[in-house]
Symmetry: C2
Subunit: 225 residues, 2 copies
DNA sequence: AAAATTACCACATATTTCTGTAGTGTCTCC
DNA sequence: GGAGACACTACAGAAATATGTGGTAATTTT
């Protein structure tokens, strides 16, 4: 009767689980509660239920299934991070569904957890996440890194810019005017215009801003420095 | 005398090392050559030496120190990836120098290796990298992931956009005109202009293209979708 | 050798953007 | 209840952009 509901203890690492599969949910809960330094505040079957409760506020780490009924794990991450921007959320998934996991990471999850990991790996992942690390498989890490790099495989080869065009687009991204670009590239103002037209054509846009946007999003030009 | 120079065998994983510290270089070489399924083609003390040789062409994995005399490891990565875009490069570093490692990853390295790792970890990292994964510490992984996410802690709080401004900036990134944005946001054309001015002020820019560029680079607006 | 392509320059003009200045209503703070 | 701050609207003019059309020289294709 004294432990009707878990008490929040500052010395413990508080975990909230969101997972629709009851067996999974309860297994994890049991595993985690067996540890001396962590405990499950509460385990929910849906995002909606978790968001309605006040448990998230006190959670140090949230483990969330990516494939949930109702609000998906990806929407859930976004929602939680909107309300609690610093909250540490780890995604869990049965499938090694790259696209979903990747998307979850973009939306604010710090790591990725396969559902078929061992007890010790589960606990290690939670601790890693809480200590400022990102638990994830090397394959996912690779995907993430490639997304940071240049020119990550454009679908249609038609949209690939040549050196001059890429150069001009970089200048556009710096907000330079046609004449400033002309000076920098030793072209005439209209020469710059010529290339910009071609860039627009290849990128299927019709303004500087959109060209820059597409260029950055497709990593045709540097995202850093 | 029969093994004066290592032969390239297609069944083996060919490694090239670039590391200025002789002890380190030779230790790794010995460790790797002790494995049956991998071998060091050659170990160089500088990037320049590696680039001049033709060993890189045949390398499956390149291990490169980040802190090299002459051409730095970061420049080295960029250079190698320019010549061999698919080459798998792992960075090695003594210090847990986040900024440099991160920068190396952006420039084309697939993973990160602390110099104080064990023999088995070294070998595992090489295999992970070669198998399409990214060997790296959870702390680095976290940094990388945060770089993908929204609004990752801007230095000056002055440059943080409010909801309306962020919304308008998203529209700008889509290449919409003032009047199109006005329609989409239920503002007047000049109302849109008002917000754009404020965005420019906060972002310290004075054109759409530059605002979009800064917005994307600082993750003030979505990079994906 | 003719035809086509590429890379650039030029001119023209309608549209859009940038920016200064200014006005209105609402809200907050003292 | 006055002073600011904020969000928005309005007007206006200079600057820049978007885009159509056409030209030239060099290179490649046929």
């Amino acid at each position: 009767m004294s432990a009707d509901k878990p008490q929040t203890e500052s010395t413990q690492l508080n975990v909230v689980i969101v997972e629709d599969n009851r067996y999974m949910r309860e297994s994890w809960q049991t595993i985690i509660n067996f540890e001396r330094d962590m405990r499950v505040l509460e385990a929910f079957p849906t995002c909606e239920a978790a968001l309605q409760s006040h448990m998230l506020e006190e959670a140090d780490v949230v483990i969330m299934d990516i494939d949930l009924p109702g609000m998906s794990g990806i929407e859930g991450v976004r929602e939680i991070r909107q309300r609690f921007p610093k909250k540490t959320i780890i995604m869990a998934t049965v499938f090694e569904d790259d696209q979903h996991v990747f998307s979850a990471l973009q939306n604010g999850a710090v790591g990725y957890l396969s559902k078929k990991i061992s007890t010790s790996e589960l606990l290690e992942a939670i601790r890693t996440a809480h200590n400022g690390g990102s638990p994830m498989s090397p394959a996912i890490a690779r995907k993430v890194i490639e997304s940071l790099q240049f020119h990550t495989a454009s679908k249609n080869p038609e949209s690939i810019l040549n050196d001059r065009e890429r150069d001009v687009l970089e200048h556009l991204a710096d907000g330079k005017s046609y004449s400033a670009i002309a000076k920098a590239t030793f072209l005439s103002v209209d020469g710059v215009g010529y290339h910009i037209r071609n860039i627009y054509e290849k990128l299927q846009v019709n303004s500087r801003a959109e060209a820059v946007s597409v260029g950055l999003k497709k990593r045709l030009i540097r995202l850093f420095r």
